[in-house]
Symmetry: C2
Subunit: 65 residues, 2 copies
Amino acid sequence: MKNYIKEFRKQMHMTQANIADLCGVARQTINCVENDKYDPTLELAFKISRLLKKNLEEVFIYDSL
Amino acid sequence: MKNYIKEFRKQMHMTQANIADLCGVARQTINCVENDKYDPTLELAFKISRLLKKNLEEVFIYDSL
DNA sequence: TAAAAATGTCATATATATTGGACATTTTTA
DNA sequence: TAAAAATGTCCAATATATATGACATTTTTA
């Protein structure tokens, strides 16, 4: 699983803390998701994607196999 | 959060147990996700969607607000 | 219409996502 | 070029997704 959170986040001039606040989670959570430390909840993945004004599958890339 | 797992699953003549086996999770897990008992992991949501040959956002509908 | 398969559900246990606090390092800003 | 902000990381605690086993009910099939 790959993601483009950092890239899209910077395009929007947002910080990890901004995203975290707006998603209602801790800053560490966004940091860990961004750096593939763990697999987020589907709802959190949707929240992040919406904040970045992207479709979920543009932000998170699932490589089957 | 709404999902169309049951509908797409029946279209493919698959059972909850089939999906579970192919996803590598327990049958109860698929049952709970299908019935909105809890929020699946992003990776599991992707696996289910791929098995149903659909995009994730066709299977899981996130209603913001 | 009885048997078999599929589903819903419950209880307990485990794995892991998420939290909160704290601090070091890196990046940005004044 | 120093101060401030942002990021990465660690630890311990908590919340919740997932597992396992078992059984009742519903749906499908022979």
